[in-house]
């Protein structure tokens, strides 16, 4: 099996709170995987550890056989759950920056997508609306032919039209040899495109299975199964 990422016993505490509790997870290449769980289940923490932005309290993570570092950062295309543009930059600066640092960045693709959104290279980023900045961030991330895309809550807090744009941008631009990990709790919006689903509950992986297999085994959609599994926790 073509292992892309392996987590073994990954645990992370924040003070006394256990955000991740012995996560064991293996992702292989060429898949679209949903990292699904309610708010506070540890999705963002897990993705940050994969990016090297947080250190695990215990356990180990390997990306293509190595710990998170310079090499893995060159292979991962990360969309965080917040805006990260420096205020002083212009649209052209961001495109140039991605081109300078990432060998897999397709500059023409990024420029085309920016033009389609009506963004000029000399537009100051601080003058763009929040929605446009989010779209631009997604376009930069998806203009890379990365081995692993880590998309943290890409459709949270946006209207249905924007959700459609985001999902379309992801699906038409990702590198098909790579793997896309989408974290979300809005399962019905992503279910149709997922190959695998990972359910995270209170920092533990409670399910990791192919979406077709879930439907076959349970006779219901991933969304319905999710609602069933997490209802007890919600009420």
């Amino acid at each position: 099996m073509n292992e892309l990422l392996t987590c073994t016993g990954l645990t992370r505490y924040f003070g006394q709170t256990k955000a991740l509790d012995g996560v064991d997870l293996t992702l292989t290449s060429g898949k679209i995987v949903g990292l699904l769980g309610p708010n506070g289940s540890g999705k963002t923490t897990l993705i940050k550890i994969m990016n090297g932005l947080l250190q695990p309290t215990a356990g180990e993570i390997r990306i293509m056989g190595s710990a998170p570092g310079v090499a893995s950062k060159g292979m991962i295309s990360y969309l965080p759950d917040r805006g990260y543009f420096p205020e002083w930059m212009r649209v052209g600066d961001m495109i140039e920056m991605f081109y300078d640092f990432y060998a897999d960045f397709d500059r023409d693709k990024a420029e085309d997508m920016c033009r389609a959104l009506g963004l000029e290279a000399d537009s100051a980023i601080k003058t763009l609306s929040k929605g446009t900045r989010e779209k631009m961030q997604l376009m930069l991330v998806m203009s890379r032919a990365a081995k692993l895309y880590l998309l943290d809550e890409p459709i949270a807090g946006v209207d249905p039209a924007a959700r459609e744009f985001i999902m379309q941008t992801i699906l038409t631009n990702y590198n098909e040899d790579g793997t896309v990990l989408i974290s979300t709790h809005l399962i019905s919006d992503v279910e149709q495109v997922l190959d695998e689903a990972v359910f995270l509950q209170q920092g533990r992986v409670v399910l990791h299975e192919a979406v077709d297999s879930i439907r076959e085994r349970t006779g219901e959609s991933v969304d319905a199964l999710f609602r069933e599994m997490f209802r007890a926790q919600l009420y």
Partner: protein
Amino acid sequence: MLGKLIKYDFRSCIRKFGPLWLGMAALAVINGFTIGHVLDNDHITGWLQFFAGVVPLILLIVLWTAVAIMSLVFICQRFYKGLLGDEGYLMLTLPVTTGEHITSKAIVALLLETITAVVAVASGLLLVTVYKPEILGEIGRHLPEVLSYMNGKVWLILLEYLLFTLVEAVLQTLHIYLAICLGHLAREHRVALSIVAYVLISIAMSHLITLCVPMIERFPEEWFITFDEMGMHFAGFGPIAGLIGAGILVSAIIAAVFFCISNYILRRKLNLE
């Protein structure tokens, strides 16, 4: 990759300080004209004299001070916001080492300080040049005479002192970076704890300097540069050069320690929440 990081860090610096540096130069030229005009025209008195002769000068001094303070704020802010704030999600996922990030920011901080100092001196010279160009001519005429007093040894000491100043500037920047990194280890009140860390490191460093003072006091007075009608004397070239050299070495070692601790925290204890 370090060169690329420096390119973006320096670009952010130029976007902010470029207009301010130009403003300093422009205000110096305006001051040269207004001061000259007020001083050469006795009929300009009262409020007109104040607005034409004093206000532009006050503005220039305020701008000098503001740029110096803004440089310090910029150095802190670019490190804190650029690596440990939301921008850190971009910068720390670039395929570069944390050591390269610290190095890039420290080099750009040094460039910022150097350019600001050069622009401040240049704006002073510009003011004088516009006001009375003949003053510069006078300085030019007397310069060879002044330089003739300075033998090769003095130049070496001056160069060594310049190097010491640069190393000290880097040390001060790394001191700030280390304090911010130590503050980042806490989960709450990170800015306040960074300030506490800065003060504690300062106290530790001043204790280290206090230890060195008795050594310097043992130096005979005649070892230092003295002047008389015969010119400049420099009996203690060797010991003085050695003293500054030791200062460079100690500062460089402390800077390296600060760098290594900051790098360790960013690499092993990073906690972007």
